[in-house]
């Protein structure tokens, strides 16, 4: 029992880091663009499949492969933004962009089915099978590597946001788009790059997800996006730090419930979200009135 609890705690926290990374991209895009990118789930799966192709067909190590998949996903994100999101304007923009993202997700899912079929595949390397002996349980190495990668990427995101000129432009756009444009910020460019960054992190998230989930199919996107949305909404839209805290909290609780009720553990995600929103409609860390209407 003690080892089960220890393992649940460890995988909950470490796995939460990975979800935090994926959710950070989602919440960043929301903060800057006021868009809920419901394609984030399938983009993570796409990132996982890119890593899969590189490792199986070109025999490139998963970690080295990130040097290729991250820029590739970044470009895909910018293209999606430029083609399908940017043209949408007007009063109904928020719901229209959400639907457009849903449509993009469907197309990507269809293409993935066409290329890879519906069989489960998983990412393998020497560090996905090895595990570390911690007191009385074994912790797969990939959890540690994944957590390390996630933390490194989130730190990189923070450095970009708070230490660069581009980051200042992003934050200005988040606060007030009109004012940002008035002081000479090209908000269209900022938006496209932000969408690209939000998508680029899914390459890292996808690689780690593909390695720790034990297998994925094109259908895995639905499970991912529903969890990510629950995390982001629970945290309050647009709060990166909040998304990280919420992600770790949710996956830890899920890992604990999983010990006794494996069938129902996922429901914890949604129940926690519903309960929190009933009491605090803006989420745990959300800015209250700013985005109420």
């Amino acid at each position: 029992m003690a080892s089960e609890i220890g393992l649940a705690l460890a995988t909950g926290i470490l796995g939460g880091g990975v979800y935090a990374l994926m959710a950070a991209g989602l919440t960043l895009v929301f903060g800057v663009l006021d868009i809920i990118n419901v394609a984030q789930g399938i983009l993570v799966v796409l990132g996982a499949y890119l890593s899969y192709v590189l490792s199986v067909h070109l025999h490139i190590d998963l970690l080295v492969g990130l040097l290729i998949t991250v820029p590739a996903m970044f470009v895909i994100g910018v293209v999606i933004y430029w083609l399908f999101i940017r043209p949408l304007r007007g009063a109904e923009r928020t719901s229209m962009t959400l639907l457009a993202c849903f449509a993009v997700a469907l197309i990507i899912e269809g293409i993935l089915y066409r290329e890879f079929g519906s069989n489960y595949v998983s990412l393998n390397a020497w560090y996905t099978t090895a595990s570390l002996h911690v007191i009385d349980f074994y912790l797969p190495d990939i959890y540690l590597i994944g957590f390390g990668l996630a933390i490194a990427t989130v730190i990189a995101l923070y450095l970009i946001l708070y230490q660069t000129k581009f980051g200042r432009a992003v934050r200005a756009t988040m606060q007030n788009q009109t004012a940002a444009r008035l002081v000479g910020i090209d908000t269209n460019r900022v938006a496209a790059l932000t969408f690209g960054i939000g998508t680029g992190v899914t390459a890292v998230g996808g690689m780690v997800y593909g390695a720790i989930s034990g297998g994925f199919t094109p259908n895995s996107g639905y499970d991912l996006i529903s969890r990510l949305l629950a995390i982001v909404i629970l945290a309050g839209m647009g709060s990166i730090g909040g998304a990280m805290a919420a992600a770790v909290f949710m996956t830890t609780v899920e890992a604990f419930v999983d010990i006794w009720q494996p069938d129902w553990s996922v429901v914890v995600f949604y129940l926690a979200m519903v309960i929190v929103l009933t009491v605090r409609p803006q989420g745990l860390f959300g800015r209250s009135a700013a985005r109420a209407q």
Partner: protein, 347 residues
């Protein structure tokens, strides 16, 4: 007087249209064709019901499959436990709608507290809760699902009872949409869509209004779900609670024209048979999925307000252009049949 004749001609058009739908299965007896018809009419019901909540109030729901699936499962369980069979099962449809409506009350009380995209995400969350519950509960038969009774009707006209049940439901749903649109209640809903805070300030009790619309919408959706499950003869979680269903409903409403009365009918009657036909032609489901996504993008990017409103704009622009040209060359006033050309354009 002019509006009076127009109302009469519109009413006549509706009667002719419904009559044409009623004789349809007598003319086309092919089972594949009537199956398309049943599916399309079920979607007429659901999209109209979705529209008089989401289209009128602006609260986009991506979780109507919750009500659809609830109605479907209720019908199967009730028919089994209370020994209903054959056409008697149709009497359970209003009850299936009622159960879905009851489910809608707690869903609405929680989800309608948040607005815009948070609401959309909440409805998605409720959808996944429902799907998970159906997969894991004993009463729904888990992931292997349940089987409704199979009626022993004559093979040649097997589809006809389903067709007429779907037609009655569709007509009722569109009638409800029309009545709501004309009522004070519909006006309150649209006031909420335009500016909820101002509507509340002007004395609209927004929560009861929104909740009533959602519950009514869930009632029709639940009935449609019950009929659909009875028709396809199978209730498994991943098809009864299908995310593509939610998206298809929204796509049809957008295609026809969000917040209109005729738009959802048009969208369902065009897109559902098209989708079914494509699924028949294409052996692999991914083909229809890609096409579906592309179609959705095209509609959102080029016809964001739907075929009917956009078509109406083109019609108005074209007529203005014609009038200008005529008055320029021959100085003849606009033709007298303008009002018949505008048939249905106010919808």
């Amino acid at each position: 007087m002019k509006t009076g004749t127009r109302a009469v001609s519109q009413g006549a058009a509706v009667v002719v249209f419904v009559a044409a739908l009623a004789v349809f299965p007598l003319v086309f007896t092919n089972a594949t064709v009537t199956t398309f018809g049943i599916d399309a009419l079920i979607f007429v019901t659901v999209v109209s019901a979705w529209n008089f909540f989401s289209g009128y109030s602006g609260y986009l729901s991506l979780g109507h499959a919750v009500f659809y699936g609830t109605g479907g499962y209720f019908l199967v369980i009730a028919a089994r436990d209370w020994n209903f069979a054959g056409s008697g099962v149709f009497w359970l449809l209003p009850l299936a709608g009622l159960v879905a409506a009851i489910i809608a009350v707690p869903v609405g009380l929680v989800a309608l507290r948040v607005r815009r995209h948070t609401f959309v995400v909440m409805t998605i969350a409720f959808f996944f809760i429902a799907q998970l519950a159906a997969t894991n509960l004993g009463v729904t038969g888990g992931s292997s699902g349940l089987l409704p009774p199979i009626p022993n009707w004559a093979p040649g006209t097997f589809n006809n009872p389903f067709y007429y049940a779907a037609l009655v439901m569709g007509v009722l749903a569109v009638a409800a949409s029309w009545l709501i649109r004309r009522s004070r209640f519909g006006l309150q809903l649209r006031a909420i869509r335009d500016d909820e805070d101002r509507a509340a300030g002007l004395g609209v009790r927004t929560m009861p209004v929104k909740l009533t619309a959602l519950v009514l919408s869930a009632f029709f959706t639940g009935m449609a779900g019950g009929l659909w499950v009875y028709f396809i003869g199978d209730a498994v979680p991943q098809f009864v609670f299908d995310p593509l269903f939610d998206l298809a409903v929204v796509l049809m409403a957008f295609f026809g024209g969000l917040g209109t009365i005729a738009g959802p009918v048009l969208g369902a009657l065009i897109l559902e048979p098209a989708q079914q036909w494509f699924a028949l032609e294409e052996a692999n489901s991914y083909g229809s999925e890609i096409l579906f996504g592309l179609l959705f993008l095209v509609i959102i990017l080029f016809l964001p307000r739907g075929v009917l409103p956009t078509g109406e704009e083109y019609l108005t622009a074209g007529r203005a252009w014609l009038t200008r040209r005529r008055s320029g060359t021959q100085s003849v006033p606009a033709p007298a049949n303008v009002s018949t050309q505008a048939e249905g354009s106010s919808r």
